[in-house]
């Protein structure tokens, strides 16, 4: 079992630059967690502390029950059994692909077999004799993963590994990496600022803000039950509406909506919806209506911005496929599904 447990992790680079403020995070054995946050939120510092390149000011890091960082404990990186997959792969340019993968293997007898196994796992069997510069960006990234997985680490850290790849390649490499991690059963932590990447790749998403975990849960959980408007806006597009909540429903300018978590006394606050929860209806019926001010067409779907009477900010609606409207048209709006309510 190689569960990763982080408790109260604190790190400051100077008197006024505290980067981690007592961060807590638990990643169950064998799962892939994404640490999602804007740049400067401390996610790189977190990764470097887990790997042992940085010392924490306070807090503990344990992997599979073994304390790596803690009061009076700092295991050096080479004895942590933590593999890292850096941005852009960072293969050793002076070693062949096979020797890169074998770099962390100490058992000479098994080295050759294990190297071939790992290259096979990442779909690069037969590439062992190539030099890193002879590979494409995606191939380099896969070799970096094979290199990290070869010594059977207790934990694998992935530092924005797909950033350098162009978007056409990214989805494929991402899926391959996920499959390889699944196949080895390794516990993994993926650091990223890309919410799509976090939601689509990870089993568990930890949204980090200002050195703390703001919310941690399954991708669905984080997306549909954001803990506050900031998290909602960071993991996806959000439609904030002023509203009043009573028990399990809220009333807004766009009508009433069911709440995921009931409140008790009547409360004024913000009701949060996702753009795909809003539907277009024929204007002038029972639903409220507004005027289309902008249409952005993406192919697989489209985003329509509508100015509604009684609302200070326009609302965004996501619809699939055909766009029946143009700017200036009048349309009705209907809410579907459930919303979250925030004070």
């Amino acid at each position: 079992m190689t569960e990763l447990q982080i408790e109260g992790l604190t790190k400051a680079y100077g008197p006024d630059t505290t980067v981690l403020h007592g961060l807590d995070l638990t990643v169950p054995s064998g799962s892939l967690a994404a640490v999602l946050g804007p740049s400067g939120c401390g996610k790189t510092t977190l990764l470097r502390i887990i790997a042992g390149f940085l010392r924490a000011d306070a807090g503990t890091v344990t992997v599979g029950g073994r304390t790596l960082t803690g009061p009076g404990t700092h295991i050096p990186p080479e004895r942590r059994r933590i593999g890292i997959v850096p941005q852009e792969g960072a293969l050793f340019p002076h070693l062949s692909v096979a020797r890169n993968v074998a770099f962390g293997l100490t058992d000479r007898a098994a080295r050759r077999r294990r190297t071939e196994e790992m290259l096979d796992l990442v779909g690069l069997a037969g590439y062992g004799d190539r030099m890193p510069h002879e590979l494409s960006g995606g191939q380099q990234q896969r070799v970096a993963l094979a290199r990290a997985l070869a010594p059977e680490p207790a934990l694998v850290l992935l530092d924005e590994p797909f950033n350098a790849l162009d978007s056409a390649l990214r989805a494929g490499v991402r899926a391959d990496v996920r499959a390889a991690l699944r196949a080895t059963g390794a516990t993994a932590l993926l650091v990223t600022h890309d919410q799509q990447e976090a939601l689509s790749t990870a089993d568990l998403v930890a949204v980090v803000r200002e050195g703390r975990v703001a919310q941690c849960g399954s991708p669905q959980d984080v997306y549909s039950r954001p803990i506050d408007p900031w998290v909602a806006g960071f993991v996806g597009d959000a439609v904030p509406l002023p509203g009043t909540a009573v028990n399990d429903t809220a009333t807004t300018a766009l009508g009433t909506v069911e709440l995921r978590t009931p409140t008790e006394a009547p409360l004024q606050g913000t009701v949060l919806l996702r753009p795909e929860q809003l539907r277009l209806t024929e204007p002038g019926e029972t639903t409220p209506d507004g005027i289309v001010t902008d249409v952005r067409y993406y192919g697989h779907d489209a985003m329509i911005t509508i100015t509604v009477d009684g609302l200070d900010t326009p609302v965004d609606i996501r619809i699939g496929g055909h766009v029946p409207l143009r700017p200036g048209d009048r349309t009705g709006i209907r809410i579907t599904g459930q919303a979250t309510f925030h004070l």
Binding site: P77, E78, R80, G83, A90, F92, P93, F103, A148
Partner: protein, 503 residues
Amino acid sequence: MTTARAPWVLLGPACLAGAFALLPLGYLAVRSLERGPGFAWSVVTTEGTALLLGRSLALAVVVVAACLLLGISLAWLTVRTALPGGRAWSVVATLPLAVPSYVAAFAWLSAVPELAGFTGSAVALTLVSYPYVYLPVAAALRGIDPAQEEASRSLGAGPVRTFLRVTLPQLRPAAAGGGLLVALYALSDFGAVSLMRYDTFTRGIYTSYRASFDRTPAAALSVVLVVMTVALVALETRTRGRRGHARTGTGTARPFTPVPLGRMTIPALAWCGAVVAAAVVFPLATLGYWLVAGNLATWDPAGLLNIAGVTLGVAAGGAALTTVLALPVGVVAARYRGRAADLLEQAAYAGHALPGITVALSMVFFAVRYANPLYQELPLLVCAYAVLFLPVAVGATRAAVLQSPPVLEDVARSLGRSPLRVLREVTVPLAAPGVAAGAALTFVVCMKELPATLLLRPTGMDTLATRLWTETGVGSYADAAPYAAALILLAAVPSYLLGRQRS
């Protein structure tokens, strides 16, 4: 980026190298105060010292002014105008860097003996050191965003006004840094001024050392010279620190539209041609003349071969010791921040500020007092080379280590390697080509070194440089020429290899 403190396997040897580099400086101070601060003060404040100071400073000022004129004008012409053959000019313009000052002095003195003195020293030093201004200014000119000049033109400023108000101010840091390097060169030079028989501080120190058994005056004068050069280096470092602010945006790739020269093409070509002729063609031609005109009876191929062999040997020894000492310092300087690392780097750069003559003198003093068997023996000379040229090798090592991203070392650590093994298996193999280039460069500068070699060589030993100096000093130019030619040829091989590796 990496952990704040360097591991002891690196820091230990690096500190040793740093201490080694500072040793002569420290000992020089001790030695100059040996007969009391009063005596040292009385030496420093004599009329003779003031005269030397005035002469050194006058020479430095004139050389710097001339180098600024040559360097900036050539840089602008070769980088920004439609000068025919601009590329070739920019290569040829840097060639004088390879000419030792005493070879330039030999060329001018043997052709125009009347130049001896201030004029000859100024001419020789200017023609070998103007590339120190040319190179940074040309780089700065290439770095300026052309959009700035276009904006200035669109706002109604003509080409001259644009150059004066937009371009020139941005060249100031580069020109100032280059000018300070030239000043340092002029102040520390011994070869050219001694052949030109112009009494400056360096020549004064040498004469004082040779003339009397009391070496304290020479030490006291050395301290004054070191104080001046250290001040210059400090100034140069400060301008270098600020140079970054003059840069704009993120390196624009957009090329300049070359300024058409029109009717000025011929004068511009004549100007560039004159500078290159004086700095490169003339010394070579003079050398060729004396080689041909030389009396065949005085030809001594066996002696020449022997001296060339000795030169290669000591230079190889100097380069080897310097490179070994520079390795830990370069790695620490590239990978670690913090007060200890910064201090160490500065200590290693001490040689940059120390004129060869003062390093040699301090080595003499140190050996006479603490290591008498080494006095006038080869190891001492090799140590002097290491102190003098440690900055060259440290700079090359540091740059080579910086070339590979530190994340590679992190990955190696995470795969179970100790810091020492990461150094051996990742850092050093990746930096090896750059370190080798640094060693080659050190080899070349050791081979050309004159003042320290003159003072520290074992009795009866000659290098190409010292023999050239001796023969020129007594006016036997034809006898000097073969040594000059051999020196240039031998130094050209590693320089050529370095140039090829870079391109």
